[in-house]
């Protein structure tokens, strides 16, 4: 508990840092307020009308209670934790690789998870004898195993985590390789393409309280080491040699934080499929509005990522209601538009 104290104090005192403390506190309050509003919005958004949903909230019966508290609430809370995990992982990846374009899927996790799910669907669909156990892993388990295997392959190819450039290159190679393998399998088994589409575009439809609890636990497990090592990421912004001269162990920092990114991304992908742009855009949104160190950036990116995915989830249910859009398509549109806006603003200010 003593070891956790500084982290807890840091979370509490992050708003009292000199300089940007007031703006940061406003920003955090704003994020939390938006999250609350989005949670309320998600409760009243569905195939039924808003009036009906409001009526359920005011006087719930057995059926409406199940819809509100067992379907809609875990879905939006789960979406928040998924977005928070992706935002946190994105901020860490950008810090570790010292590259603002780094994102959580950089180590090949998305392709690995997609391949894992493809194999699992094929194994579940056909009787494959010795491979039947893969089908029993389920989509979530297969995605996690696939993502973990992709990371292991990336780190093996780059011969460890010392060379950032090698790691990036290995991640790209593994990503392409596993995507190609998945495409080959889909060509051989076109009947699973429909199920794979749901995974590839991302869906919050399957989030339950059990998966939300898992996401919440993993989020806490990832946040604590990330905050403990945040000052190391600050030191890394001064360059690798300077960071080492300050007493930082780069292999330990990279290995721990890439482990955090891998765990967070694999869990998120396992629960909702591949949701792009949240991990890339959330840290930029924080940086654009606040002058922050990594401790503040990590917390900000998690809050922002959570609100972003919640908003995308709500939009995906609202735009063509009563039908739903894939949440990944919405995040891609919103995130892509934001990056274009960012580029336009920077070129205008330059």
């Amino acid at each position: 508990m003593n070891a956790l104290r500084p982290v807890l104090v840091d979370i509490g005192t992050v708003c009292t840092e000199a300089g940007s403390s007031h703006r940061l506190a406003m920003w955090v309050a704003c994020c939390l307020g938006i999250t609350l509003l989005l949670t309320f919005g998600s409760l009243i958004a569905g195939t039924s009308s808003v009036e009906t949903s409001l009526g359920w909230l005011l006087s719930p019966d057995a059926q409406s209670s199940v819809i509100l508290w067992q379907i809609r609430l875990p879905r939006t809370v789960g979406a928040w934790f998924t977005g928070a995990l992706l935002g946190l992982s994105g901020a860490i990846a950008q810090g570790v690789f010292r590259n603002p374009l780094a994102e959580p899927y950089l180590l090949g996790t998305a392709s690995g998870a997609a391949l894992g799910v493809t194999i699992s669907l094929i194994a579940a669909d056909a009787s494959l004898g010795g491979l039947a156990w893969i089908g029993k892993l389920g989509v979530t388990g297969a995605a996690c195993v696939g993502a973990a295997a992709a990371i292991a392959l990336t780190i093996t190819l780059s011969r460890g985590v010392i060379e950032t450039a090698s790691l990036l290159l290995a991640g790209i190679v593994v990503g392409f390789l596993l995507s190609a393998l998945m495409s080959l399998l889909l060509l051989a088994k076109p009947e699973i393409w429909r199920a794979m589409q749901i995974f590839m575009f991302g869906s919050t439809d399957f989030l339950s309280w059990s998966s939300t609890t898992l996401l919440a636990i993993v989020f806490c497990v990832c946040l604590i080491p990330a905050l403990l090592l945040a000052r190391g990421l600050d030191a890394l912004t001064l360059g690798e040699d300077t960071a080492q001269s300050l007493g930082l162990s780069l292999p330990m920092l990279r290995l721990t934080l890439l482990g955090v990114v891998s765990l967070g991304t694999a869990t998120a992908v396992g629960q909702v499929g591949i949701v792009g742009f949240v991990g890339l855009v959330a840290p930029h949104m924080v940086r654009e509005t606040l002058s922050v160190n990594h401790r503040q950036l990590l917390i900000g990116a998690a809050l922002c990522g959570g609100a972003l995915l919640q908003a995308a989830d709500l939009l995906s249910r609202w735009i063509i209601r009563p039908e739903e859009l894939p949440v990944g398509a919405v995040t891609a549109c919103v995130g892509g538009s934001y990056l274009v806006l960012l580029l336009w603003r920077r070129s205008r200010d330059a």
């Binding site: 500084p6 930082l248 160190n293």
Partner: protein
């Protein structure tokens, strides 16, 4: 000129040091005993390995052959954090970051607390002292990326000073600085040396380097000499290192490098215009 302490042990030493980038040997056979309480300037032509020597002494580059000792102990036996509490290094071109100036300077105290430790009052005092000394306190809350090159350099210098360590290795600490600030830095390094710190700085400005207590002169393939300024001038080490005549003039006790511009056609004082 102040009295140099004589009885202090070598803070930093190396024996038969050679460093190579691939098949290219930068320098070889370099042996040095660098004592505490001195400001030592490292000079030499471009590519002679001034920065590489400092990086190797700082433990950031493995030597090809030879060994480095810090306060009498082989550098390899020091833990990373213990070494950072004894030795600070300033890069030739320190990066711009989105951190504020005070956060960058605070990183100088990184090794003084554990991963879980909070900043103590002593850390805050050291940070403030360093920022006051380098004149960087007024932009403490500004992002480093919004500062000019010279301002940034002073912040990085403050970061190194905030560590309050017995050995300072500074690679071109006066880069981007205007002449008055170069003079301030020189005064600061002298003060550090007088306080017992071992200050080693690579400096390409010969006149500024001659304000140091001692010189390490590197040539194309290794050490030309290590000694006092007087020894360096008497032995004409600079001319040997730069493989051209280097004129040093003494103006009221201040030694200055005089460029031989009159030998360049059209630039001499009597040249037709």
């Amino acid at each position: 000129m102040h009295e140099l302490p004589q009885a202090l042990p070598p803070a930093l030493s190396c024996r038969d040091l050679s460093v190579a980038y691939g098949s290219r040997i930068v320098f070889e056979g370099v042996s040095l005993d660098i004592r505490a309480g001195h400001w030592t300037a490292v000079v030499g032509p471009n590519g002679s390995g001034k920065s590489t020597l400092l990086r190797t002494l700082a433990g950031l580059r493995e030597p090809h052959t030879g060994s480095v000792s810090l306060q009498g102990r082989p550098l390899s036996t020091w833990t990373r954090r213990a070494r950072a509490r004894c030795l600070a290094w300033l890069a030739q071109s320190a990066g711009a970051t989105e951190l504020t100036a005070s956060e960058v300077v605070a990183l100088g105290r990184f090794a003084h607390g554990g991963w879980l430790a909070h900043r103590q009052a002593a850390d805050d005092a050291a940070i403030r002292r360093a920022m006051v000394a380098t004149g960087s306190l007024s932009w403490a809350r500004r992002r480093l990326s919004t500062l000019s090159g010279g301002e940034r350099q002073r912040v990085h210098l403050a970061r190194v000073l905030a560590a309050e360590v017995p050995v300072l290795l500074l690679d071109e600490p006066t880069t981007h600085l205007d002449p008055p600030h170069q003079e301030e830095v020189a005064r600061l390094l002298r003060e550090q040396a007088l306080a017992g710190v071992c200050v080693v700085s690579a400096i390409h400005d010969l006149s500024l380097a001659l304000a140091a207590d001692r010189l390490i002169v590197l040539g194309r393939h290794g050490l030309v000499g290590h000694g006092t300024i007087h020894q360096a001038l008497t032995g004409d080490w600079l001319s040997v290192a730069f493989r051209t005549r280097v004129d040093i003039v003494d103006q009221q006790g201040v030694r200055l490098w005089r460029p031989a511009l009159e030998t360049v056609s059209g630039l001499g004082p009597g040249a037709p215009r």
